[in-house]
């Protein structure tokens, strides 16, 4: 009997959590579209979430591109195919590493910060005070942060891929001596704008929605104590990383699996 009760309680908990998460998502997007009134709030959040992540995204992109060029070269040179370094670096960055690594870094850099910020607002009852003043915290606090994340991450992923390709050029061409023309020309003949670049952007848009949603929801829904905040921040990073990696497989199978 006790077992049945605990099973039932857990199931109900999961469903009510999912339900609250959807209510927040709907509250932040659909029910309250106020694009003009909240623009300045969104811009401020893009600054915090996007612009301040530029450094970590740029540096990681550069080094990942450089490492891939180095590793790819040592394998490809055995087959005399080191000219294929360009497409290898470009395709893996644009299709996979750009969106995925950006999303993982974003979850760690910005997602956890969002959760902690909103969580502390809840713990110090700032959200309740907003409600007291008849200001909807979903509209004033959650929506701008959500939109800022969704707008920023695809742009960060694009910057990541571009910097990575330049980093690959730096190592492959300037250091290891692959022909610069071949690097770009074979890359151009194998990378398709719609097939690869746009699909990469779509991927990172999906990741953006998921990661920001998890971060915002965890912050809004946490138990307002210091332990609750720390647990919620951890959950944000763990859940969004897992969600990104799992979704990445599904999206890749849908986009590139059938050909």
């Amino acid at each position: 009997m006790a077992f049945l009760a605990s099973l039932g309680r857990k199931t109900l908990n999961i469903f009510s959590t999912v339900g609250r998460a959807f209510l927040i998502l709907v509250g932040a997007i659909v029910a309250r579209p106020q694009p003009l009134k909240n623009t300045s709030l969104v811009i401020k959040q893009i600054y915090i979430v996007g612009v301040q992540s530029l450094l970590i995204i740029g540096v990681s992109g550069l080094f990942i591109g450089m490492v891939m060029a180095l590793q790819g070269y040592t394998v490809l040179v055995d087959y005399g195919a080191e000219e294929s370094l360009g497409p290898m670096v470009a395709l893996s960055l644009i299709r996979e590493l750009g969106p995925v690594v950006t999303a993982l870094l974003f979850a760690g850099r910005a997602g956890s910060a969002l959760t902690a910020e909103i969580g502390l607002m809840k713990a110090t009852e700032q959200l309740s005070s907003l409600e007291m003043m008849a200001i909807d915290p979903l509209r004033r606090v959650i929506a701008p942060r959500f939109w800022a994340g969704v707008i920023s991450m695809p742009m960060l992923a694009l910057i990541f891929s571009a910097v990575g390709i330049l980093g690959g050029h730096l190592v492959g061409v300037d250091w290891l001596g692959v022909d610069s023309g071949s690097y770009w020309s074979i890359m151009q003949s194998s990378v398709d704008f719609e097939e690869d670049v746009l699909n990469g952007v779509i991927k990172s848009f999906v990741f953006a929605v998921v990661v920001t949603w998890i971060a915002v929801f965890r912050g809004y829904d946490l138990i307002p104590t210091s332990e609750g905040i720390s647990a919620a921040t951890t959950q944000t990073v763990v859940h969004s990383s897992l969600a990104v990696l799992g979704l990445d497989f599904v999206l890749t199978a849908l986009m590139f699996g059938t050909n």
Binding site: Y79, A81, I94, A162, W184, D196
Partner: protein, 156 residues
């Protein structure tokens, strides 16, 4: 003051993202604008171009002197015509020069090998729009194997 800083930062961010998208479209994907600097065009007809692609390099003894431009099929005799876009820096190749399609390494990409001919008095130089008469086609592995098997059979 802080709002100004925020706006400048976001503007910079968006501009950077657009620059990356532009780089993806023009430099990484296939909508690229080709070539920098002054160039002139030569043409060459091949029987078979193998895996030659636009923007493959043209080399004289390993030095890149230009890139393959357009590749199309001649409408009258149905042979591939390759446009060789050569840098203005390298001019006055003699009329007796020849081109062949070579492969870099065993599995590498294909490029155009340009062999300058002898030049002495009475030999004209190649100028914009000229056709190179002496061409050697790409080596197609299947043809080679076919020829090898054929000659083996004849010996029996």
């Amino acid at each position: 003051m802080t709002s100004r800083k925020v706006e400048v930062g976001v503007g910079f961010f968006v501009a950077l993202a657009f620059a990356s998208l532009l780089m993806m479209a023009l430099k990484v994907a296939d909508q690229g604008v080709s070539g920098t600097g002054e160039t002139y065009n030569l043409y060459a007809k091949f029987d078979n171009i193998g895996g030659l692609k636009p923007r493959s390099p043209i080399k004289v003894g390993g030095v890149v002197i230009g890139r393959v431009g357009d590749i199309h099929l001649d409408k009258e005799d149905f042979t591939p015509v390759v446009t060789l876009v050569i840098s203005e820096e390298y001019r006055d190749f003699p009329d007796t020069s020849s081109v062949s399609i070579l492969t870099s390494g065993l599995l590498g990409e294909q490029f155009v090998g340009f062999h300058p001919g002898f030049s002495f008095d009475g030999i004209e130089t190649l100028n914009e729009g000229d056709y190179i008469a002496d061409t050697k086609s790409a080596l197609v592995l299947e043809d080679l194997i076919g020829q090898f098997l054929f000659s083996q059979n004849k010996d029996d």
